[in-house]
């Protein structure tokens, strides 16, 4: 089963994204954390399991309490075992400078949160298609994008 880790502090946005994920098919198992430190702990734990990180996508908000989303991107980049873990940024407002910095730190995508709920589902489907092609079974393969 494909899964997503949502790193988001805004409760309203978490609820919206949870609702969107619930409407996806095949279904996505969603995990939610509210800070970068919690996310790091979660990824560590998950990486210890065999194939624990396969088929998953990390959805990261940049403005977080404590260490920022950029700090999380740096942490992922420092760990070679996480090279295959795609992280995409989902932010309230596009900022070309932030986008450039995020890509520099290894983010695979940079998306703006839509103000229309219907577009979330399309957005996540596209993100899985690009960064986890071939569905859950071949999730370990490099996307190359």
């Amino acid at each position: 089963m494909r899964w997503a880790l949502l790193i988001e502090d805004e409760a309203d946005h978490r609820l919206l994204i949870r609702e969107a994920m619930a409407r996806m098919s095949p279904p996505v198992e969603l995990f939610e954390v509210g800070a970068a430190t919690e996310a790091i702990a979660w990824v560590r734990e998950r990486a210890a399991e065999p194939d624990g990180l396969a088929g998953g996508l990390v959805i990261l908000d940049l403005g977080l309490p404590g260490p920022s989303g950029f700090r999380f991107l740096e942490w992922v980049r420092e760990h070679r075992a996480l090279d295959d873990l795609p992280v995409v940024v989902l932010t309230a407002s596009e900022n070309p400078m932030d986008a450039e910095h995020a890509f520099f730190l290894g983010a695979k995508g940079y998306y703006q949160k839509p103000a229309d709920f219907r577009r979330y589902v399309d957005l996540f489907e596209r993100a899985f298609r690009i960064h986890r092609p071939g569905g859950p079974s071949s999730a370990g393969a490099q996307s190359g994008s």
Binding site: E10, D12, H13, L16, E19, G63, A92, S93, E94, N95, P96, K113, P114, A115, D116, F117, R118, Y120
Partner: protein, 504 residues
Amino acid sequence: MRRERRNPFRSSLVIEPAWRRWTAAALAVLVYAAAFVPLYRQGGVGASALAVFPVVILGWLFGAWGGLLAGVGSAFLNALLLSFVGEPGWAIVTGPGGMEGSALVVVVGAVIGLLRDLGLRLDRHLTEWRKAERALRSAEDRYRLLFERSRDPMYVSRPDGRIVEANDAMLRLLGEQRSDLHEIDVNALYEDPLDRERFMREVARAGFVEDFPVRLRLANGTTLDCLITASARYGAGPERPVVEYQGSLRNVSENRTLHSLAERRTHELQEVVHELESFTYSVSHDLRTHLVTMGGFASILWTEYREHLDEKGQNFLERIVTASRRMDAFVQDLLNYSRIGRMPVSEERVELSEIVATAVATLAPMAETRGARIDVAPDLPAVQGDRTLLERVVENLLSNALKFVPEDRAPEVSIRAEVEERRVRLKVRDNGVGIESVDVERAFKAFERLDPARFPGTGVGLSIVEKAVDRLGGDVGVRSVPGQGSTFWVLLPLALPAELVEDE
């Protein structure tokens, strides 16, 4: 300038005008002729000796030749006068002693005349010499005044560092008293002794320097940035050594101060602009955070819970969804507008035809819904500018032309361009509602909308055009007939000739 007074020396030598001279001469001859016979009869004096009197006068009046002729003439006159009174006149004059006397009188006349001529010549030389001296003195006065009164510091110095002369401005600049002038050592004034060496070498080589930059350190410790313009004076001798520098200084310290002040102000302004931009960004970000929540839940309600509401409730909900969509467009434009202002601008050759084709393709869905006809001139020129900004300009102008056309009319848009000297005028004409001339200024203002009831939008389009054109170094304007349509134009720099670009 007329001569102020006649030279008394000269007036005693020359009697003018001529008729006065001739009258005096005639008078002298007449007096002589009348007095000669009685004086001669009295005896004791030779005829020739008496003749000395008029000859001297005539020589004085007419010069050397006059004196000579008068001497010869007097001998004949004496003979004539003596024969009148019954004496053997000619015999007396040519007799023993007579010839010698006559010759002596001729010589005396000539010598007196010669003296007069020499005197006159001397006088002429003296006058000329005096005139030259006066001219020289007035020239010297004039240049001295120029030197002393000049507000530019000027000086004459020697290679050993002594100052020979300096004007008041120079003393003021150095903060020295005139009495200490000769105590100043120029070598010690240079902050960097190497500058002094370079200055001397350059003057020795070229004979002068122009705007030679130096930094002086004064006795009180302040430094001055100066430009020296100086030339050399050479001494005698086969090597023609430099003996003096004559120069002037220009104090440019103040220019530097102004320059750095302007720099600081610019920096402060840039900081303010930067602050405003980050403020705009963070405000837009926060607006959008809440908008995402509002719009998100409103659209879930609309898509999934609509049936649970009655018609009135559905109508209210639809209004919320539409409003949040509008607000989203507004915040997006706000972000775009602030981005136009701070994005870096490149300068490259851009084909207008490509930019227009892209814009037409982007707006094709909008044009199709309205049944619009877009007519693009086949040979649009290339311009010099930033591709992204140009895309923004053309896209906004085109969407503007399509948007402001009444519902019952199919939009007709034509895109043309003309080359005007070094610029390109791109014109976008529509058959829309047009703009009243009093509203033209408002049309380009950010978030201003002229007819919000009829035409939806955020009011940012034209202000993005204006800001982008400004950053491209161009100009924008509109000519409009209300009710019939508008022609928006932008002036853009013409692309550099291709060969120029290849040379780079």
